[in-house]
């Protein structure tokens, strides 16, 4: 959409420019022209990105009543009461575990899947299309399906195992919070793999086949080629997918909310589901905003580290 918006003014400007009377105003126009072009994006970003961020920071520093009225600066009380709550430590630990487990495992599996799909074989197009499915389906539907699969009473996993004669009676696949959280991580991995797979696949396809031919002539084995040619050349794609995944997974809400709502007793909560409950179940919008700000800062640090790392690397290449 944003690419279409400037198209119409572009024509008008092209016609208008030659009609400018003197070179001075033409110079002025040249000077401000770039800003006119980026103005729509800046305005959109200001409305949809900066305003909410400012608003959340404002809420986090204020005493907020349940009905949503701001009652003034309260000396970071929202932050201290959030951090003092024993549930917060549990939730923070879950969030880190959730992010690392989902990102690392889905990256490894997505990479392997991409290597497989990069080979020539019959039905490769269909296989690639199938890989997109989990990605193209809404997360709520995915999570509901997983919840249904592992359900003790009418779940398909028990039904399947029973019909195969592996088990006689229904097994409770979710006897404790750890089991629930493991299933949620499994679901998270399942829906994240396609994204990694396609990022890596695009990197793989841009590798010139002659590298491999040359390596083969020189007598390199499969793993030598994998680690000396493939990995270095898809590294940039992998870095992009990993960083984006860290942000997406860290902020992911639907899977956990649909499967357990963070229950029991915050054992499966992450920061995002926790702050949602704080805001809309406990009516503590100030504290919820504080949790949101903490999450924002954690991600900001991760993103900054990444940007410093990649920018420095760019300089070396020069």
């Amino acid at each position: 959409m944003s690419t279409k918006t400037p198209a119409a003014p572009a024509q008008q400007q092209a016609q208008a420019a030659p009609r400018l009377p003197n070179p001075g105003s033409r110079k002025l126009f040249r000077a401000i022209e770039p800003y006119i072009w980026i103005a729509p994006s800046i305005i959109l970003m200001a409305i949809f990105i900066v305003t909410p961020i400012v608003k959340v920071f404002q809420l986090s520093m204020n005493k907020v009543t349940r009905a949503g009225k701001l009652k003034g600066f309260n000396n970071f009380e929202n932050f201290t009461s959030v951090i003092k709550d024993p549930a917060f430590a549990v939730v923070l630990k879950n969030t880190i575990l959730w992010t690392i487990a989902v990102v690392v495992i889905s990256t490894v599996l997505g990479f392997i899947l991409a290597l497989i799909l990069n080979n020539e074989f019959k039905g490769r197009k269909i296989a690639r299309a199938i890989v997109v499915f989990p990605w193209a389906t809404t997360l709520v539907i995915q999570a509901s399906a997983w919840k249904f699969i592992v359900n003790t009473d009418y779940g398909t996993l028990n039904a399947l195992l029973k019909s195969l004669g592996i088990i006689d009676a229904s097994v409770n696949w979710t006897p404790n919070p750890t089991a629930w959280f493991t299933w949620e991580i499994a679901c998270g991995i399942f829906v994240t793999i396609p994204f990694v797979c396609f990022c890596v696949l695009s990197g793989l396809q841009s590798i010139d086949a002659s590298y491999y031919e040359a390596a083969t002539v020189d007598g390199a084995g499969y793993f030598q080629k994998l680690f000396k040619i493939t990995l270095p050349l898809v590294k940039s794609s992998l870095t992009v997918s990993t960083v984006l995944n860290i942000i997406y997974v860290f902020n992911s809400f639907p899977i956990i909310w649909t499967m357990t709502k963070g229950d029991p007793a915050n054992r499966t909560d992450t920061l995002v589901t926790y702050l949602y409950k704080l805001a809309f179940y406990n009516g503590k919008q100030g504290e919820a905003s504080a949790v949101s700000v903490i999450g924002f800062l954690i991600l900001l640090i991760c993103a900054s580290v990444y940007m410093v790392y990649t920018l420095r690397k760019g300089d070396e290449d020069l």
């Binding site: 009543t65 009905a67 357990t260 229950d263 029991p264 915050n266 179940y281 406990n282």
Partner: protein, 347 residues
């Protein structure tokens, strides 16, 4: 008029309030937070005496803060015990349980006769775990508050109540995952004969009857501890009016609206259509005459207890007791958990 889904209504109302665009009349369940922010005007100003006289006095009292009535009820629902007659009979349970000991005994018999059936349904989820607390606390002579409105969350009755229901879960006499199975899940399990008994709202009757092979079920009072009186749990929604320095004309218009809304025939038809229970005694009489099945429910709702929603700490208490239940399921000590909650709430 703006209709908002129940899931989003608090967000929508709060956004409107913080942008100084509060609605004139609001139909929702809670009201104490708005009173706390001085946003409402006493409801008596907006309701004609004739209409005001129709409400059950016990219902009106639920909207009383410091002697002022801030809202009027529009409908209510109440809870009772549903039981599967066929399962009870097949398991040799001759008498519908009325006490906790009888309930546990019945559960053990059902479990022995049908290992595949969950004898008792329990919902301790984030959605409605506070109802679970009320079912056992109120039927053990306990309560959230004492008669003068002080929080009594860690009373001996409440500790015993939570220990009783957590005990049933640990003995394997209930559904296997009360922290994530909502009452909708239980309702489905009950309707398909997987749960033998559960506590639920009056809408379950319709839900079960609408199934392809409806089970044979009965309705009874919620079992109470020995020597304690049974209490139902009532839930009500309310109308409230925001204070906007209204002109007399507008006040009259709102009065006319309420007179129209609560006109007996129109009101009872609406309540029946919504499968809820009426909040006016005149509406209740019409409904009882129309449907004898509803008559027993109207008796139950007339004697129902309600959550202390008029107290500002209620939202914290609600999430607090749910957390206590879930911690207790994970092995926490009920007395210590309730002590902690009590000190957090009452300071």
């Amino acid at each position: 008029m703006e209709v908002v889904s129940w899931n989003d209504i608090y967000t929508v109302v709060n956004t409107r309030v913080s942008n100084n665009a509060a609605p004139d009349i609001l139909n929702i369940d809670t009201f104490a937070d708005y009173v706390g922010d001085d946003l409402l005007r006493p409801i008596k100003d907006f309701v004609s005496d004739e209409t005001y006289a129709k409400f059950y006095p016990a219902f009106i009292e639920q909207s009383n803060i410091d002697g002022t009535i801030w809202a009027i009820p529009d409908l209510a629902s109440a809870r009772a015990m549903y039981y599967n007659k066929d399962i009870l009979e097949a398991s040799g349970v001759d008498k519908v349980p009325t006490t906790w000991a009888e309930l546990k005994d019945a559960c053990q018999k059902i479990k022995a006769a049908n290992p595949d059936v969950y004898p008792w349904g329990v919902d301790m989820t984030t959605d409605e775990g506070q109802a679970c607390f009320a079912y056992y606390s109120w039927n053990n002579g306990g309560d959230f508050t004492d008669a003068s409105g002080n929080w009594t969350l860690n009373s001996a009755e409440n500790v015993e109540a939570v220990e009783y229901i957590v005990g049933l879960v640990k003995d394997g006499l209930t559904n296997n995952d009360p922290a994530t199975q909502t009452r909708y899940d239980l309702q489905e399990l009950f309707a398909t004969g997987k749960v033998a008994m559960m506590i639920g709202p009056n809408q379950i009757s319709n839900y079960v009857a609408g199934k392809e092979n409806p089970i044979n079920f009965g309705i009874a009072s919620i079992p109470a501890n020995e020597g304690k009186e049974t209490a139902s749990v009532g839930v009500m929604d309310r109308f409230m009016v925001f204070d906007k320095d209204d002109t007399d004309d507008k006040v009259d218009a709102i009065k006319t609206f309420f007179d129209f809304f609560y006109e007996d025939t129109r009101y009872s038809e609406w309540v029946i259509m919504e499968t809820f229970l009426p909040a006016t005694s005149t509406g209740g009489e019409i409904m009882a005459a129309a449907d004898p099945d509803a008559a027993s429910w109207i008796d139950i709702v007339g004697s129902a207890k309600f959550y202390p929603t008029a107290k500002a700490e209620w939202a914290d208490v609600k999430q607090g007791v749910i957390n206590v239940e879930q911690q207790a399921l994970l092995g926490g000590n009920v007395q210590e958990l309730l002590d902690t909650l009590q000190s957090q709430i009452a300071g």
